[in-house]
């Protein structure tokens, strides 16, 4: 009974959050599409895809960029602004759990990233001319990567002192997760220190898993990547749920 209530409340809160895109949907979808597409074109125009393997790297990297953009940057900024305006107060006085709200916020932002990676997928396939496999394995990889990203975005939002700080931190985070991680390149091609840094970053495992599923060649490391993402998503979710303060001290 309690579990049913939890899922129902999460669904209701999710629907409440999704309604936000009635007003912001067009612009957020544009941003969600433009950032990864812009990055994809930049790379193609400067270096191009040198091999099929490189093409899969670029494609998976851009899907990760799309997820980072919506699940870390947009979500972090939204929660930071909501926190500053004491927006949590409305939910805090309703009989709902923090986990329900966190899942609803994350879910709505994951949904927001859909247009971005669909556009990247279609255009990447069209321009790069590689065969891509969109199946359950791909969606599982995207979902787990997005969940981890959204936990980080939520964490930024709830720990920032105000909306402005959340904006700054999420932009820095975007830079760190996109350019200082093996998103567009294999981890082996990075300097040693960044290889170590890459090993503790969820985007590394997200990009690996998405790349493997797109190429349609799930290898053993694919399952390991998913397992690591699942662990990271669970830990960060628990951490975030604890971090949201319903009650002031």
């Amino acid at each position: 009974m309690a579990l049913r209530r939890f899922f129902l409340n999460t669904l209701l809160l999710f629907k409440m959050q999704v309604a936000l895109y009635r007003f912001l949907g067009f612009f957020t979808a544009i941003v969600a599409v433009l950032v990864p597409l812009g990055t994809l074109f930049l790379i193609l125009f400067t270096s191009g895809a040198t091999s099929q393997e490189h093409a899969y790297l670029l494609l998976a990297g851009n899907i990760v960029v799309s997820l980072v953009n919506t699940c870390i940057t947009s979500l972090g900024q939204y929660i930071g602004n909501m926190k500053e305006a004491r927006g949590f107060e409305f939910y805090a006085t309703l009989p709902v759990s923090k986990l329900s709200l966190v899942l609803a916020l994350m879910g709505s932002n994951i949904m927001l990233s859909l247009p971005g990676f669909i556009a990247v997928g279609i255009l990447g396939w069209f321009i790069l001319g590689i065969k891509i496999n969109i199946g359950p394995g791909f969606f599982l990889a995207v979902l787990l990567t997005a969940a981890t990203m959204a936990s980080i975005g939520t964490m930024i939002g709830v720990t920032a002192k105000n909306g402005q700080q959340a904006n700054h931190i999420s932009l820095v985070a975007m830079f760190v997760f996109i350019f200082l991680a093996p998103v567009y390149y294999t981890i082996e091609s990075l300097p040693l220190i960044l290889q170590w840094w890459g090993r503790i970053q969820p985007v590394t495992y997200g990009a690996n898993a998405i790349r493997a599923s797109l190429a349609g060649m799930p290898v053993s490391s694919y399952y390991l990547d998913l397992l690591i993402l699942l662990a990271m998503a669970t830990v960060s979710l628990l951490f975030v749920t604890k971090g949201i303060k319903w009650r002031e001290g």
Binding site: R22, F90, L94, P95, R247
Partner: protein
Amino acid sequence: MQTAIEAIGLSKTYKKNDVRANIDLNLQVKEGEIFGLLGPNGAGKTTFVKQVVGLLKPSSGSLRVLGEDVIGNPDSVRSNLNYMSQNIFAVWHLKIREVIEYSGRLRGLSLGEAKKQTQNLLEELGIEEHADKAIFHLSGGLRQLAGFGAAFIGKPRLLVLDEPTSALDVARRRKLWEKVRELNQKGGVTVLLVTHSVIEAEHLLDRLAIIQDGRLKAIGSPGELKQKVDNRLRLEIIPHNGGLPAGLTRDLSEVGEVFEANNRVVVLTSRGTLQKAVGLVEKNGLDCIDDFRIGTANLEDVYLKLGGGVLGAA
């Protein structure tokens, strides 16, 4: 009658600026009563309310709401308590109908029941024509009404309203007070109300507490407080063009306590000297007043006497 809220030695100090917002508060709100909290700005009323609804952690003392320890388990009271948040920023994008309906569903109503109650509330609050407008498109008053709808829906045992009518016109205020009374009398809902509208509150409240500088100054029914504080008669004078002549004010202060409230001059005087006060007005002030009336001391007098604002010395 059971206790809905029981605060014992409740204190709250904000660590950030070391402000003591509540100091050793002891009060009980009984189940089924409409209880008011009155006091000037910064008195500590909202701090108390936020502790009751579990949004703020007390620094010391104990606080039980509907039999549950809110300090140890702040989540425990939420399923039986509806709080009208002053802040609906979080749902600025939702339509009024959605805000009310979702609030009902999150409080455990079925879809059918939530829709039915939402429709009734929209009609009762007179906002049906705005029901499908988003919160951020609305005026302050309509937003407040939407907040009311979200607070009223469900089957609460305790309704907490923090300055709920500050943005409303007189007609809508009356409608709201009627709804609050109806919920209390027909539904047995206990109401904790913070308001600045002392005169309106007088007709609504069963009991009230006056808080000033974080401390409880008085508690009781409006009648008890009026009697305790003042059993004198009240001569209320409405001057035109900026007040009474200084000479008249001085003369009146010799027969009673004189102070200003809401652009009116009030003289609180004993039954024996009322005639003298009226005589003074008749003799020296009829040309410079719009109206005057006689009655017993009201809650506003009690509030001002306890909370300051005295103009002349008696």
